[in-house]
């Protein structure tokens, strides 16, 4: 069986190597991927959507339907981890909306540094989200940075304390809100007499915009939705994984 698998791998490898000879040359400006659709995106994206960052324009508008499902994949992953690891009978957390503990065991330098770092990092994350359609960034990146701040806090303090402030229920709600924003904007377009995710229809309800600016603003909207889902689901996945689903003591 091992020999058979080895032969199969070799044959597949040879097939892939032989195929590589047929590829367009490296960096060839006239190859089909560089010629056909890319030209349209590069030359027309800003003109059609008023978004200077053409990556965001492709991601959130031209192929916005894909991105909606990528967000749904993150949502599904969080749900899957909770479904597999989660325990049903859970204690209610007594620690709720309390100040972060001041004197406990642990390194005071780390905790003080975290206190300074977290607000700045979160502010930066919001910049990444809000400025995603003008400069590199966007919902996925900003959402990951936001989730990272929560993970940093659980490392500096402990999981229970942070879950008291951002509980499993809240992660589920915010992940839902995020996907609702994305899909809801799509449905809103349908209700306004257009097709799903055809943002230009929103100029009817967004004051002071035309069809093109409406696309730009809607992209900000969906990026916020993506960020909320990614943030809460990544944190929920982390919390479940480090505590084996018990959501009590983490690392």
């Amino acid at each position: 069986m091992k020999v058979f698998a080895f032969v199969l791998v070799i044959v597949t490898g040879i097939m892939l190597v032989v195929t590589a000879a047929d590829f367009p040359a490296w960096g060839d400006a006239h190859s089909p991927p560089n010629q056909y659709l890319s030209t349209h995106y590069i030359t027309q994206a800003e003109h059609e959507t008023a978004v200077p960052n053409m990556v965001t324009a492709v991601l959130a508008d031209y192929r916005g339907f894909d991105t909606m499902f990528e967000t749904a994949v993150v949502f599904c992953a969080g749900l899957a981890i909770a479904a597999i690891l989660g325990h049903e009978k859970k204690k209610r957390y007594v620690v709720r909306r309390k100040a972060l503990p001041k004197t406990e065991e642990g390194d005071i330098i780390i905790r003080m540094a975290t206190r300074f770092l977290v607000p700045v990092t979160q502010l930066f994350a919001m910049y990444v989200i809000a400025h995603g359609h003008h400069s590199p960034g966007g919902g996925f990146q900003g959402g990951v940075i936001l989730a990272a701040t929560f993970i940093l806090m659980t490392l500096a303090f402990d999981l229970k304390t942070i879950l008291g402030r951002f509980s499993e229920k809240m992660t589920l709600i915010w992940a839902n809100v995020g996907l609702f924003i994305y899909a809801g904007i799509g449905v809103l377009c349908v209700l306004l007499g257009s097709r799903f995710l055809e943002y230009s229809a929103l100029h009817k309800i967004l004051p002071g915009t035309d069809e093109i600016m409406a696309r730009s603003h809607s992209m900000l909207g969906v990026e916020i939705g993506v960020a909320l889902t990614v943030m809460s689901m990544l944190f929920a996945i982390y919390a479940h994984l480090v505590s084996k689903g018990r959501l009590e003591d983490g690392l």
């Binding site: 560089n34 659709l37 479904a83 597999i84």
Partner: protein
Amino acid sequence: MSENLPFLVIAAPLFGALVASLVGWARPRYCYAIAMVSLAAGLTAAIALLVKVSGTVSGYEYRLGGWPPPIGIQHWVDPLSALILVVITAVAFLAVMSARANLQLELPGKERFVYPLMLLMVTGLSGMTLTGDAFNLYVLLEITSLSSYALVAIGRGRAAASCLNYIIMGTIGASFYLLGVGYLYLKTGSLNMIDLRQIMIAGDMHGSQTVITGFILITVGFWIKMGLYPLHGWLPNAYSFAPHAASNLMAPLMTKVSVYVSLRMMLSVFTPDFLAVHALWAQTALLVATIAIIAGSLIAYSQTDVKKLLCYLVVAEVGYMAGGMWLMNRAGITGTIYHIAADAFMTCCLFLGASGLIASTGSRHIRSFRGATRRMPWTFAAFLVGGLSMIGVPPTCGFFSKWFLIQGAIEGGAWHFVAALIFSSLINALIFFRIIELAYFKDVEHEDDVSHPPQVQRNEAPWGIRIPLFITSVVIVLLGVFSPRVINWIERFVDSVGVT
């Protein structure tokens, strides 16, 4: 609004999943109602779509975001996708209908996860059927696979181990597909299926090594996903150790949609002309399918675990379709498409029946069928309709799909495939007559097994399982009785893609 039907089919289960996951936190009991309502909405939209397509010549497009096709993503609704969509949403509706009774027995307290995951899976499956964009298909495949991994892993006992196997194999299959699409993009610069076809024809790329490798990668990737025999390793364990509620949904749909996508790629992207040039492929694929049918049937015959037995029957049935599509003639393709629809209902019926049997006897062993005609006459009768359809007894739909497949194989001169189909029917007859024998002629009284009470008691499956089971068995017969209409419908598609 009727223009927006394709989006409704996808949005209904998606929003259902969101609402169910939110409501399920506080009130898990409402999840079932939410799931049923959203699936009913999806089914209604799918039927409306079918009616709408019947008025057009070849189908119509739906531009997501309003962008014209190669720039944006497009849904393409033609007779084939509309038909498969109705089958998927109908089977999903029936399978989820049975989920509550199964979940109460197996996984109490996990409803709030299971229903949203099921709905996300149906979203992905419907999307894969509708989409006209090769990359969008991958994204939807991802969400379908991810939710199905979770649904397998949530089970007890060996479910986690078989899920790991499933994840590894499934991921390899999906990445093969993605790599194949990447190769096509490298040559054409497009991801839209119709555009891909036109560029490949216009640029005369059918001889290009990259396109050929891309095609092989896509085909093998979906062979893994559909569980064609030598690549089927993940399927029996994953589907038999998964919770019944999940396997009732997955077993009928996952493999069928993979077959559909494979067929769509062959006919609508690569065109029959391209496949005709490489005659060796068809011979190889038919040989693999023949082996799959024979091996699947034989292994099924040797099983004593009811669910394992059904899983290997699925493996054999996949061989029917994987072979049928490579016959590349009118009867063969028609038979394959009809079999996708027929097999979805047949498998659903058998899995529902098996879960009903297990729910009322508590045993998965084939012996638990003993005296079933007295203990659970209705459940068993409905299960038997599925079994007779598997054998191919008229007027069930299994007869007609086999008829067309055999006709296509004879026309194509693939005698080994004909032999395999007939062999598999005989083995199926043996399997189901063995079950009938157990059910009719072996009584519970003559059994030494102390786990069963000696007196014959009425012990039907719970209503929650019996109702969808009855509906499914009625649909199997109706699909057979109205087969001329369905066949006409399918032939309209087959003619439009130029298969002769």
